[in-house]
């Protein structure tokens, strides 16, 4: 039974990846790093529920196997299908955002890093529905960088997804999506939280492709 579930998860994973490729021709642009297996935290902009699957589909197989998206437990445990796709297909690190929970998100994230996994995180915390390129970052990225200073924090820009699959729409538009990986950053010695988060945010925005419209 366990074997069958794992097999099903693999098949669903391939289906999601093929679907993402067929619709958006998703392409990885490796500007600041090489696509080699190395422990990293990919921190990305968040405009659509399609962001995480898109980054996941853009990664080459060796990197995809090692990566675990950090995602909200309340979203992925809502029904049986999501509870299968989130934890088993994407191998998500599910965190509970409610403050009263004892199980602190950062503990689970650090535990996943100590197991050797790479992570995908969305430091804005929520989907960005504004016209600003990014919402202010939450402290999580800083805390990770502080706790495990050797791990590369890679800015990852997902272009176009807010038009491909905006909130409230059902049919995804087949437009071309590019996932750009920038140069990794680290928390510098005696850099405070706000300075680091500003630097991380700037590094991410700098990857947004410029298309005049």
């Amino acid at each position: 039974m366990k074997f069958l579930r794992r097999l099903a998860a693999r098949i669903v994973g391939h289906a999601i990846r093929i679907f993402a490729r067929a619709i958006t021709a998703v392409r990885a642009d490796w500007q600041g790093i090489e696509p080699v297996p190395r422990q990293r935290v990919y921190f990305a902009n968040h405009t659509s529920n399609g962001d995480m699957p898109m980054i996941w589909a853009a990664l080459p197989p060796a990197l995809r196997r090692e990566v675990r998206p950090v995602a909200a437990a309340d979203y992925w445990l809502k029904n049986k299908l999501r509870a299968f796709v989130g934890p088993e297909v994407f191998n998500c690190v599910l965190v509970d955002r409610r403050p009263e929970v004892k199980d602190k998100p950062m503990d689970k994230i650090i535990a996943a890093l100590d197991e050797g996994a790479s992570l995908i995180i969305f430091p804005e915390g929520n989907r960005n529905m504004t016209d600003e390129p990014l919402l202010p970052f939450k402290a999580g990225l800083y805390n990770m960088g502080l706790a495990r200073p050797d791990i590369d924090l890679v800015p990852t820009w997902v272009a176009n997804l807010n038009t491909i699959m905006p909130k409230g729409e059902v049919i995804p538009l087949p437009l071309i999506c590019t996932v750009t990986f920038g140069t990794p950053i680290h928390v510098k010695a005696d850099e405070d939280k706000d300075a680091f988060l500003a630097r991380a945010s700037d590094a991410l925005v700098a990857l947004a492709p410029e298309v005049t419209q």
């Binding site: 021709a25 392409r27 176009n160 038009t163 905006p166 729409e169 049919i171 538009l173 087949p174 437009l175 071309i176 590019t178 410029e210 298309v211 005049t212 419209q213």
Partner: protein
């Protein structure tokens, strides 16, 4: 094998022969370079030839499969082209439904109409029905911000990527007073004269080109275009046996198609420049997107279609 099948195979093997020859010339030129240096013109030439191998294989295979193969191939080209085009145009969330309709309803329907041979429908379906209905869909969402720009750019995308591209397979429907399955060869004729004309325009333009046609937009030169069109004429005359045009007619039609195609790729260069991109996408590694590969054929197709229908239909 039917005579048409024999002719398709002959054209395919002929093209493969030419490609082997061109690859060989390119490799000779590469070998004569000082080691360690790269000639960008030569490299562009070689990558073009590489994409040609794929193009000949795909178009040849589709032609051999007949009508259905041709429709599927060009519907896929339209899809890829429309995706590249709409990625760069202005749009708002209010356009989401009309854009989804463009991709998933208008595009397939256009190819169904072409496949059915319903000439009266596929020549007006996009310019009349799609152009009038899609803005209604957008307007119903009540967002007037840059409305005209959004609507106009979407319409242009449909015109170029679906309407124009679909006129390549529509050539099958022309009744040219010959046995009916030979119309499929008109596709081979159009694609070959336009693409060869382009390749030689590029080659001569770099060799002897002096006077730019549109400085600041494209490196195309008057000399290059002239040589390209003359080359297309010669190729058209050589290929006259697959057309109902006769030698002079084939040369003339080839010249017009090739010339319109070159001017068309100038238009595409202007659109790319306006949007600040170098290529339409990265779908074909090292060579940009589908629209980069097909730009001149896209422009030439409807004009070639209508001139053929007018003079020979």
């Amino acid at each position: 094998m039917s005579p048409t099948t024999v002719d398709i195979l002959l054209l395919a093997f002929g093209s493969f022969g030419i490609l082997i020859g061109l690859t060989f010339i390119g490799e000779v030129l590469r070998a004569r370079q000082t080691p360690g240096t790269l000639n960008p013109v030569l490299e562009t030439f070689m990558t073009r030839i590489q994409s040609w191998w794929g193009m000949v294989a795909f178009v040849g295979g589709a032609l051999l499969m007949g009508k259905f193969g041709v429709m599927v191939l060009f519907a896929f080209c339209s899809f890829a082209a429309l995706r590249e085009f709409l990625t760069l145009t202005a749009k708002a969330q209010a356009d989401h439904k009309s854009l989804a309709l463009a991709f998933f309803v208008v595009l397939p329907l256009q190819y169904v109409f072409v496949g059915m041979g319903w000439t009266g429908m596929y020549t007006v379906f996009i310019p009349v029905y799609a152009f009038l209905l899609l803005p209604i869909m957008s307007a119903l969402r009540g967002n007037a911000d840059r409305f005209l720009v959004r609507v106009a750019e979407t319409q242009w995308a449909l015109m170029i990527a679906v309407f124009c591209v679909s006129h390549v397979p529509a050539l099958i429907n022309l009744d040219l007073g010959q046995s009916s399955d030979r119309s499929v060869l008109m596709i081979a004729f159009l694609v070959m004269v336009v693409q060869f004309g382009d390749l030689l325009e590029y080659f001569f333009g770099r060799r002897i080109g002096r006077h730019k046609i549109a400085p600041g937009l494209s490196p195309k030169t008057r000399e290059g275009v002239l040589c390209g069109v003359i080359s297309a004429m010669c190729i058209g005359a050589l290929l006259h046996w697959i057309t109902p045009f006769g030698i002079l007619g084939a040369a003339g039609m080839a010249a017009i198609a090739s010339f319109v195609g070159m001017l068309g790729s100038l238009v595409f260069a202007a659109i790319k420049r306006d949007r600040g991109v170098k290529d339409w996408s990265h779908l074909i590694p090292g060579q940009g997107g589908f629209v980069d590969q097909l730009d001149s054929v896209i422009f030439a197709a409807p004009i070639f279609y209508h001139l053929t229908a007018y003079f020979y239909g």
